[in-house]
Amino acid sequence: MDGLRRHKSTFLLPGLLTLFLIIIFPLLFTIRVSFSGWNVSNPQMDFIGGANYTAVLHDSRFWASITRLVLLAGGTVLIQYVIGFGMALLVWREARGRRFWRVLFLVPMMTTPVVMAAIWQTIFHESLGPVNDLLEMLGLTGIPWLTESGPALAALMTVEIWQWTPFMFLLLLAGLLSLPKEPFMAAAIDGAGTWRTFRKVTFPLMAPVSVAAVVIRLIEASKLSDSVYVLTSGGPGSSTETPGYYLYIQGLRDQQTGYGGAMSLTYLVLMIVTLTVVAALLTRAFKLKGDS
């Protein structure tokens, strides 16, 4: 046992220290810069107290983007989960050409978000893109995809769903494939129907995978900004702006480094708290033993 104790740090530390060293400077830098007036024309580490934080509290555009993110991220992740699970169930066991479907359903995840968003922009292009063209072929009127806030949000969600449902699909399919067979046999013997088997056997068994997949997707979705940037630039008005994109505008594009830093940290704290609570709630909702 003593031998083991001596070794455990040797395993952990290389990774932990590497990450720590890579991360600590940026974090400290950001904390420090958030108390400075660093901006595009005065790139200096002066000290202006908590002025940036006060400004963040009064920045209605920031808080509006947070509310929007809750809906966007929550909505897309839920839809991704439902579709991902559904598709995983459909190609899980007996399905013709299931190996082809599986590969196809994985591919969108492999694409570069900024690049695909550019392609999506051409797809949603209201006069030169195929979506409105197809709608018109069906006798419907074209939708102002990127110029009205409702459709723009829908377009954004479509892109997110396209890109990241495969992630859910993969995690859930792998989870399904590793389920033990016995409970299903038992359910079959009990004469349980498809729906009952799913509700009583499959779904509970998949609970841990589900929670992990949803939480990790929420974490990634909270950073949503690439597709906003390319697709709508936050518009029309500011109706599709997410915190990630707004942070980018302030902190990088307009180089309000100090203000951006304060906003980033506020956002980071909010996210960590929210995600921790959400993870805990999900875990409880699925009646899991908190364990890691």
Partner: protein, 362 residues
């Protein structure tokens, strides 16, 4: 080179896993550790192997402080209750794995692996992966790997527990032969089954709640269980233990007085005792202690009738199939000459064979 454990103690989260465990394990002997589930048997093995630290006590082998020896230098092999093998290796490579670590030559490895696989009857399975084998075969691979190393210490943690009955009996018979020629190896084998412990063990250690209650030859432990607990552990079904009174060598249980004087109890002073009686020494009769049947098990050619007398449960083992139903009122005949007498604290005072027992391991 004995392995000496002295006063090993381990408490985890307020639960005592080992309490002052003191024992000496000798080379060339097979030690069986018998105890119920959670008795601390596995913990003891893990502590001996170095997989589990202890809070206090000492463990030495040939003067070496074993507690300070890392696992990988303890010269110990272990077989788990679950069939643990390296899933990524073939059967051959599984067995060869420790040998390669030990730096043996290729020829030597090949020779030993084949010998070892032959001894467990898996000669033709070398190229398979463990996942392609049945449970029993997987366990044989684990045993082959343990044997092939010819370590100084060989630990087997309920190796047969997860196998079906028939396989268990078959392997148990093979074990007797396998372990008998292990040379100077200290073999320690844990089990919950009295028959296994008695049949395999040169020395039997009875464990309960982290303590070793008794150490001795199978016969000693069986014939002279030091306490009521030991008595119930080493018998299957567990020995019936019940309160009674003794007056002039005549036993009274639950208001029913035995007809005869039990000769071996005659010298004992009158008063309250606890008595033990094996299930085979109880039978159903037309007169005797009144009880009610709570459960009937029929196993092959035997019938086990569970009866409750007042609050005290009894098990009656009968030859053949008997027609007894739940809730039947029956009368139990207790063989007075087979009674073990224990004092009120549970310590053995007299056995049917008249001998006084020196109690170890308390």
């Amino acid at each position: 080179m004995n392995l000496n454990a002295t006063d090993l103690c381990l408490t985890v989260d307020g639960v005592d896993h080992l309490r002052n465990v003191t024992a000496t394990f000798r080379p060339g002997r097979l030690h069986t550790v018998i105890g119920r589930t959670m008795a601390g048997k596995t913990t003891l093995l893990r502590a001996l192997a170095g997989l589990q630290g202890v809070d206090s006590g000492s463990l030495t082998r040939a003067g070496e402080d074993f507690l300070r020896t890392p696992v990988w230098r303890r010269d110990t092999a272990m077989v788990y209750q679950q069939f643990i093998n390296y899933p990524h290796l073939t059967v051959f490579d599984n067995v060869a794995f420790p040998l390669k670590r030990a730096g043996l030559s290729r020829d030597e490895i090949r020779h030993r692996v084949q010998q070892s696989l032959a001894s467990v009857g898996l000669t033709d399975f070398g190229k398979r992966k463990p996942s392609q084998l049945s449970g029993g075969q997987q366990q044989r691979v684990a045993i082959a790997r343990a044997l092939a190393r010819r370590t100084g210490i060989l630990l087997l943690d309920e190796p047969l527990a997860n196998l079906d009955y028939k396989l268990r009996e078959q392997l148990r018979d093979e074990f007797k032969a396998l372990f008998s020629d292990q040379g100077d190896t200290i073999v320690i084998y844990t089990t919950t089954e009295p028959a296994e412990a008695m049949m395999l063990g040169d020395v039997v250690l009875v464990m309960h709640e982290g303590r070793i209650l008794q150490t001795g030859t199978p016969q000693e432990v069986f014939e002279r269980p030091a306490t009521t607990t030991v008595a119930s552990i080493v018998n299957d079904p567990p020995m019936n233990v019940f309160a009674g009174r003794l007056k002039g060598g005549q036993v009274t249980v639950a208001g029913f007085q035995a007809a005869h004087v039990s000769a071996h109890l005659a010298e004992l002073s009158d008063g309250a005792y606890q008595f033990g009686l094996r299930a085979t020494d109880v039978s159903l009769a037309s007169s005797g202690v009144d009880g009610e049947v709570t459960y009937v098990e029929i196993s092959g050619s035997e019938t086990f009738v569970h009866v409750v007398v007042g609050e005290t449960p009894f098990v009656v083992q009968l030859e053949g199939i008997h027609d007894v139903d739940l809730g039947d009122l029956v009368k139990l005949r207790l063989r007075p000459d087979r009674l073990f007498a224990f004092d009120e604290r549970g310590a053995l005072v007299r056995t049917p064979s008249h001998d006084l027992v020196s109690v170890e391991g308390r």
